[in-house]
């Protein structure tokens, strides 16, 4: 960015010093002059179609649209006058000329920008007597409902679809008064993020899952954090009478890192919370092979405590394994770790995490990038991973950095991921050879070998290095789970060895899969002796009992189904009956994210609040409460007095990166707090690791075919897991989103999904 020059602007007779080139509409609003607008949307391409933002600028003929005018020196602006008001009232009258009087049945009623605008700028009566356009309400997908006649053609939807999502799935069609927003072929085959619904100021695009359910003013709103991926979007949960009705990110309710962005999972996958299949009471299997029988909490806790004590006495503390989960809050995982260490005394604790970032955290030599940093980065290097399916907010920020910010994007992947469209350079490598690129980046000497193993030209590596070298601004290094321990270490040390220059800064952005993948590392749960698969492999041998909170990943269980059978005792805390609970001796019903207070740490290292929106359903209890009850039954009182904030205070005292953090400091989602991670210096032992990495790369066969097909939209997002499987719409999407015979009726009523069509389980397992 060029350094901002400050200019003088006079607004309504008051003088202001503002940044040159700032949008006039923003400057006016920041200084307290209200300007109505529909089509203006910060950080999207300008549209100037609604003409509501008119102002008078001296020396310019006619009224000007303040959204397209940038501030220049000496500008004299009037935002309120009879002339302007007349123009604005005229515009509203035109907008309403074709707008139906539908508010009683419109789901946007009560939070509609058009309604609000009409209160302020609308006339009392309508002078147009012509017939209005009429189009029936219809469905664009199982998730997006559309009522074309309500559209005011602000085109926010088409712009977010294009600029945020890179989908370009909806566009305006037709001409003049007959223009409507539509999609090719009448059916939406996109990533179904629902962002078009969110930004639509009217009730033209609507959430079909919340269709005709309630009214916005009936909802109790709670600001919370998404529980589906590591991006940690901020969202507003709307609940009514103990039921979670919808999730939105509308900026009048919540103002987080994601703005109004959410992806399909964040926005639509919440119905699992009140699903009828939620576990209702604790369950006990009194003898192996028997049935799980409902029990009281007292009985279940007593039974579990007695069994754990018995096994500990017979086989020693290390025979009990404790498994947390990167889906649970920091509070839950911390209390679990404390339970493992202090109550049981075992060294066998871990989390059911897909891959460990421990080597990265130990060696990181540059700070973590926030999503804002990504948006304004100048160079982005993405090694492995597929953010558009697994971390959609990151993908959106990358896309905008390239499209709106002119950043350079380099993608190193064995799959031609969709983000490739935005890439300056795409290194299409052989599957499993991402390590080689890290080796090449670490020094020039291995280029030839690395290129050979990856199956790329030697000449393709040098430009990447040069691009990083020449960057003026932030360089964000992103990586997915493909990197080995050694490669993670070397990459983490890379900024330290290249060194910062005056105008260049390195930032990291790891791409773990889960909402609290960072948290499990931070509280120390990933430092146990064995990882989740290790524990399962030792089951029945050195490990006699397992205490699993949040369930095991399907990927870990695959091929190890027998392991759970071999255990003497298995305790599981879960929301639903799963493959893990099928073998459990005791099952505790846990409370979901909408029913608890806590914190998640996202892939920016931001510690964000999860807040209780509804009371726990049935007899569920928060995970950390269950663990403390068990501790209590085993004779150690953690003394948290049922308060999640007491747990977090303890985390703030014991986890170095969270030093000094308290709930009150995390109150404001618009000012998120980043954990203070210790940066490592240059480590001497890195030379050894580099040698190991070189050996590892040398061992690669250099054979194996690259994957040539671009993965389909939604191949991960729409997969059916324990949670997403509770949403009927996901089943339609997972089955390929078939178009129903009649688009006027929800496809849910028309199509029954053959379970044979369903795809396999998502890698994230949700």
């Amino acid at each position: 960015m060029t350094t901002a020059e400050s200019v003088k602007v006079t607004i309504n007779g008051q003088e202001f010093q503002v940044q040159k080139g700032a949008p006039l509409i923003d400057v006016c609003r920041e200084n307290g002059f209200a300007i109505p607008s529909f089509c203006y949307y910060a950080d999207l391409a300008l549209q100037a179609s609604c003409r509501m933002c008119l102002v008078r600028i001296e020396k310019m003929p006619k009224l000007q649209t303040s959204c397209t005018i940038t501030c220049t020196d000496g500008m004299i602006v009037t935002t309120q006058s009879e002339e302007i008001e007349k123009a604005q009232r005229g515009m509203v009258e035109f907008l309403l000329a074709n707008h139906p009087l539908d508010c009683p049945v419109c789901d946007r009623g009560g939070e509609c920008e058009l309604q609000e605008m009409v209160f302020d700028w609308g006339g009392l009566e309508e002078r147009f007597t012509e017939r209005k356009n009429y189009y029936p309400e219809k469905f664009l997908s199982p998730i997006v409902a559309n009522d074309p006649q309500r559209c005011i053609l602000c085109k926010r939807c088409t712009r977010v679809c294009d600029e945020w999502m890179g989908e370009d799935a909806i566009e305006a069609g037709g001409r003049g008064a007959n223009t409507v927003i539509g999609t090719f072929g009448g059916w939406l085959n996109c990533s179904q993020c629902g962002n078009c619904i969110e930004v639509c100021p009217t009730g033209t695009l609507l959430d079909a899952t919340y269709r005709h359910q309630t009214r916005p003013w009936e909802l109790e709103r709670t600001v919370s954090t998404c529980t589906f991926c590591s991006d940690g979007c901020q969202m507003s949960l709307g609940s009514r009478a103990g039921e979670l009705m919808r999730v939105v990110a509308r900026d009048r309710y919540v103002d987080g890192i994601n703005g109004e962005f959410l992806c399909i999972k964040g926005r639509f996958a919440h119905p699992f919370v009140n699903h009828e299949e939620r576990l209702r009471t604790p369950l006990i299997r009194y003898r192996k092979g028997g049935k799980l029988i409902p029990a009281t909490w007292d009985e279940a806790i007593r039974f579990t405590a007695a069994k754990l004590q018995e096994i500990k006495d017979a086989h020693g503390a290390n025979s009990i394994g404790v498994v947390g989960s990167p889906r649970l809050t920091n509070e839950a995982n911390y209390v679990l770790l404390k339970f493992a260490r202090e109550v049981i005394g075992t060294e066998h604790y871990t989390a059911s995490e897909a891959f460990s970032l421990a080597p990265f955290f130990k060696h990181m030599t540059a700070p973590l990038a926030t999503h804002k940093d990504i948006r304004h980065a100048k160079t982005i290097v993405l090694i492995g991973g597929e953010p558009e399916e697994l971390q959609p907010l990151t993908a959106k920020q990358v896309r905008q950095a390239v499209r709106n910010g002119g950043a350079k994007l380099v993608i190193i992947n064995s799959v031609p991921v969709r983000l490739k469209q935005q890439a300056t350079q795409f290194l299409h490598v052989r599957p499993g050879t991402e390590d080689a690129l890290v080796l090449a980046l670490a020094g020039q000497t291995d280029d030839a070998m690395a290129a050979r193993k990856m199956g790329v030209e030697v000449g393709e590596i040098e430009p990447l290095r040069r691009m990083i070298d020449e960057t003026q601004g932030n360089v964000v290094l992103m990586f997915g789970g493909e990197l080995s321990t050694e490669a993670q270490t070397i990459l983490a040390q890379l900024p330290g060895s290249i060194g910062d220059e005056e105008n260049r800064r390195f930032l990291f952005h790891p791409l773990p899969l889960f909402n609290n993948s960072f948290g499990v590392h931070d509280v120390g749960l990933m430092d146990g002796k064995l990882n989740a698969t290790g524990l399962l492999d030792a089951a029945g041998d050195t490990v006699r009992a397992l205490y699993v909170a949040g369930g095991l990943l399907p990927a870990h269980l695959q091929g190890r189904e027998q392991a759970l059978q071999n255990l003497d005792f298995l305790v599981v805390q879960e929301l639903f009956a799963t493959d893990t609970t099928a073998h459990a001796d005791v099952v505790f019903p846990a409370a979901s994210f909408a029913e608890i207070d806590g914190t998640y740490t996202n892939n920016d290292g931001l510690v964000q609040r999860v807040r209780q929106s509804i009371p726990p359903v049935h007899q569920a209890k928060p995970d950390w409460v269950i663990t403390s009850l068990l501790a209590d039954a085993l004779g150690i009182d953690f003394n948290y007095q049922m308060s999640a904030s007491a747990v977090f205070r303890e985390i703030g005292e014991h986890v170095p990166a969270y030093q000094g953090l308290r709930y009150p400091l995390l109150k404001d989602e618009s000012k998120p707090v980043q954990a203070k991670y210790q940066l490592a210096g240059q480590r001497a032992e890195v030379a050894d690791v580099l040698a190991e990495l070189r050996q590892r790369v040398e061992r690669m066969t250099g054979a194996g075919d690259k994957i040539m097909e671009t993965p389909e939209v939604g191949h991960e997002l729409f997969k059916i897991g324990t949670l997403t499987g509770k949403v009927p719409q996901f089943h339609l999407l997972a089955a390929g989103n078939p178009e129903p015979p009649d688009v006027l009726v929800s496809p849910l009523y028309q199509i029954t999904i053959d379970s044979g069509l369903r795809r396999d389980t998502a890698i994230a397992g949700d």
Partner: protein
């Protein structure tokens, strides 16, 4: 004061009082022999609500919640739902209808704001005032009690100026 004047004074006031009482005996009587005789209500009397239906018998209410929002005593509870059937088969006039519509007469103050708010003329005040029940929970009236097609009409009242057809909507039950 002597005892004599006391007696005189009190007799005077009794006579004064009773003369008012007796003067009413020959006048016309307003006492209604309810429930033997029906009560006459004014046309704009606000009694128990009625939920109306259109000429096809479909409920007019579209579950917009405006009545609930307008209600100062918060006694209206609605659950909206989607009705994907063809227009002729629907429960209501629109795809959106009230699956549950409850009014708590333990709280209702008969202010008529809900009627005022309704954009669909779906709710009005009826004339039924016989709302006493033995169990307080029975004061919660559901759609089955409120729908004009289902509400039982009491024989215990008549509406003034009934020749003007004010309660012609009532069905014989």
């Amino acid at each position: 004061m002597s005892i004599i004047s006391d007696i005189v004074e009190s007799t005077k006031s009794i006579i004064k009082g009773m003369s008012v009482t007796f003067s009413y005996i020959p006048k016309a009587k307003w006492t209604v022999q309810y429930p033997e005789e029906p009560v006459t209500l004014q046309p704009r009397y606000r009694g128990q609500h009625l939920l109306h239906v259109d000429e096809l018998g479909r409920e007019k209410c579209v579950a917009c919640y405006l009545c609930a929002a307008a209600c100062p005593s918060d006694c209206i509870y609605i659950v909206a739902a989607d009705d994907p059937r063809a227009p002729e088969e629907r429960t209501g006039v629109d795809e959106r209808y009230a699956e549950v519509y409850n009014i708590d007469y333990g709280r209702c103050i008969f202010c008529g704001y809900c009627v005022e708010a309704c954009p669909k003329d779906a709710i009005t005040h009826g004339y039924n005032f016989e709302l006493s029940v033995y169990n307080r929970a029975d004061l919660l009236k559901t759609k089955d009690d409120l729908l004009i097609t289902k509400q039982k009409q009491s024989p215990n009242y008549r509406v003034a100026f009934s020749d003007e057809d004010v309660d012609s909507e009532y069905k014989e039950v």
